[in-house]
């Protein structure tokens, strides 16, 4: 995999491009053309979101009309009240929040802890084991979901929130992401701490964890969003209605009320909204996390 090892700092993405490439400005015609292209692409990408929000503010009958109403006739806010009454939205949100927080906390701990072992402690067999870790990222979960399900059933974990926690909390991605970051921290720092008599655990806790805050933030956000959006895990493991997550709940709601288009869109907006807010607030960490996995993958 060493052909992919590039050493660009991930946050190069966020520094203004003008500073790095002092080339001449594109001519005005080209600039206009680029803007036209970009605006068209953005409109195409955003159309589904626009439609989702607008439909959630319509009556069911107004969602599909000829010709299409791109603006609601009159804004119907009460969809956003009805949804709580007609669905178990509160239960779904509660389950999803529990899972997202627990999984994120566990992934941060086990991922960064293991990454320290891989990056800073030298012992025989370490590199081989790491290759096994990285290799499993290329193995599709769909190909081993059946034996995994059988195993979880034997451990009496299926049909409980624990199954999803177990499923998501030990991902190899976290180890990988944190290891890349630790390796960018100069060895002299930990060496100096060792000479001062600090144990490896102390170095991890007092030096590495505080220094790797940006990487931890990236990992936390990626894990949180993944767990929040996971549909397949809950679909397979969570059978009881009171265990449903927002994604599973929404999909059952859709099949149950398949003609209440406006309400379905209301539920969809509610399932996307928290993630949209988190994403907009923590965007730079998302970008850095993805750039790290991509560049150094």
């Amino acid at each position: 995999m060493d052909t992919m090892l590039q050493s660009a700092p991930a946050d190069a993405l966020l520094t203004p491009i003008a500073r790095r490439r002092p080339g001449k400005r594109a001519n005005p015609v080209v600039r206009v053309l680029i803007y036209v292209l970009l605006i068209a692409a953005a409109a195409g990408v955003l159309l589904p979101f626009y439609w989702m929000v607008v439909s959630s503010l319509k009556t069911d009958n107004d969602v599909f009309t000829v010709p299409i109403k791109w603006l609601p006739h009159s804004v119907i806010w009460h969809n956003y009240l009805d949804i709580w009454r007609k669905s178990q939205m509160t239960t779904w949100l509660k389950n999803t929040l529990i899972l997202s927080f627990v999984v994120t906390a566990l992934q941060l701990f086990t991922g960064s802890f293991a990454a320290y072992g891989f990056a800073k402690v030298r012992f025989p067999g370490r590199d081989l084991l790491f290759i096994v870790y990285v290799g499993t990222i290329a193995v599709p979960w769909q190909s081993y979901m059946i034996p995994q399900f059988i195993l979880m059933s034997h451990l009496h974990l299926s049909n409980s929130l624990w199954s999803i926690i177990a499923l998501q909390a030990f991902g190899a991605l976290g180890v990988f992401l944190m290891k890349q970051y630790y390796e960018s921290i100069p060895e002299e720092l930990s060496e100096a701490a060792r000479i001062d008599g600090m144990s490896e655990y102390g170095i991890y806790r007092r030096i590495m964890l505080p220094l790797s805050a940006p990487a931890l933030a990236s990992l936390a956000l990626l894990t949180f969003v993944n767990t929040w959006n996971d549909y397949l895990g809950p679909l397979i493991y969570l059978r009881s209605p009171n265990l449903r997550t927002i994604q599973l709940g929404l999909s059952t709601f859709i099949s149950q009320y398949n003609a209440e288009y406006a309400l379905i869109m209301t539920g969809s907006v509610l399932s996307v909204l928290p993630i949209a807010v988190i994403f907009l607030l923590g965007q730079r960490y998302f970008v850095e996390g993805i750039a790290t996995t991509g560049l150094k993958g």
Binding site: L13, M145, I146, F170, V287
Partner: protein, 309 residues
């Protein structure tokens, strides 16, 4: 307690003994760091992968025990029409989804890798579909694609296409619809990776090409493409695996239908395993998916290695 990692230079006998104790201690410390993650990883990922290769050779439904049947599952697979349909559809999805997503992602990255006002906004927009829930996204697209009243066909009619496709309710157009949504969702992710790759290319290379009189297209061919090779390779591998295992999108958008027009391998595994409870047979299909991903990844590695030499 100083844990020096460098061994002493002169291998005197006590030093050697001290060194082996050192290795032992490092191993113990190293494993203590790995263990919390490794236990979960071994039980939930490694063990299932190993068990898979056993289950594939057994006949097992939920009740009873797994009975060793040798190659019976695979013989059945060869004559299973649904399996071939699923394999064919998976390859169909892969063959179109990879170039489309790669083209869109690279195109966007090239457009956004320049001095322009609003670049950050467009980057956010392009990435947004990737982090939205697949359930909501699939539902919206299903409504957008709706043949009689949906906005997509309405727009097509305005453009002058009097009989626009039926998308998710048509056997011919359901797969293109799924591919379109897949591309919409994932291009922003790969765009970010391409952007990161583009920004590792030193500006001097472009300057030198300009001095030599290369036009924009020649600079792209001679500087961008070769410098991006590691990134392109990574994107190709990830996109291939991602396409082979496509599942939740299809489950929510078309549920494999109409008919079997969008049935893919992952969904066929799910159906035989979790809905019909044929765990053994479903494992055999899983092995096919596993081997497919494995072989293609290895081949891509070999090709990439030969090219970069």
């Amino acid at each position: 307690m100083a844990t020096t990692i460098e061994a002493p230079a002169r291998p005197t006998r006590p030093a050697r003994r001290r060194r082996s104790r050192q290795v032992w201690r490092n191993t113990a410390v190293g494993w203590s760091f790995l263990l919390p993650n490794f236990i979960g990883f071994a039980v939930l990922t490694l063990a299932p992968v190993l068990v898979l290769f056993y289950l594939a050779f057994t006949d097992w439904n939920v009740f009873g025990v797994a009975k060793w049947t040798g190659l019976a599952n695979f013989q059945r697979l060869i004559h299973d029409q649904s399996f071939w349909t699923a394999l064919e559809n998976t390859l169909y999805y892969t063959a179109l989804h990879i170039p489309l997503t790669m083209g869109a992602a690279l195109g966007l990255a090239l457009l956004l890798n320049r001095k322009l006002r609003g670049v950050a906004f467009f980057r956010t927009v392009a990435f947004f579909p990737y982090i939205t829930s697949i359930v909501a996204a699939a539902q919206v697209w299903n409504m957008l694609f709706s043949p009689q009243y949906g906005p997509v066909d309405a727009v097509l009619r305005v453009v002058g296409i009097s009989h626009p496709p039926g998308w998710t309710v048509s056997t011919t157009w359901s797969m293109p619809a799924v591919i379109l949504v897949g591309t919409w969702r994932e291009m922003g992710y790969y765009m970010l990776i391409f952007l990161a790759g583009l920004q590792t290319i030193p500006a001097q290379l472009y300057e030198a090409a300009r001095v030599d009189g290369a036009n924009a297209w020649q600079r792209f061919r001679a500087v961008t493409v070769p410098s991006l090779r590691p990134t392109t390779f990574f994107v190709t591998v990830m996109l291939t695996i991602g396409s082979f295992k496509v599942f939740d999108l299809i489950l929510l958008l078309t549920n494999g239908g109409p008919g079997q027009s969008t049935l893919v391998l992952s969904q066929y595994i799910y159906q035989t395993g979790f809905q019909e409870n044929h765990f053994g047979y479903a494992s055999a299909i899983s092995v096919v998916l596993f081997v497919l991903c494995f072989v293609v990844t290895i081949v891509q590695f070999l090709v990439n290695k030969r090219r970069s030499v």
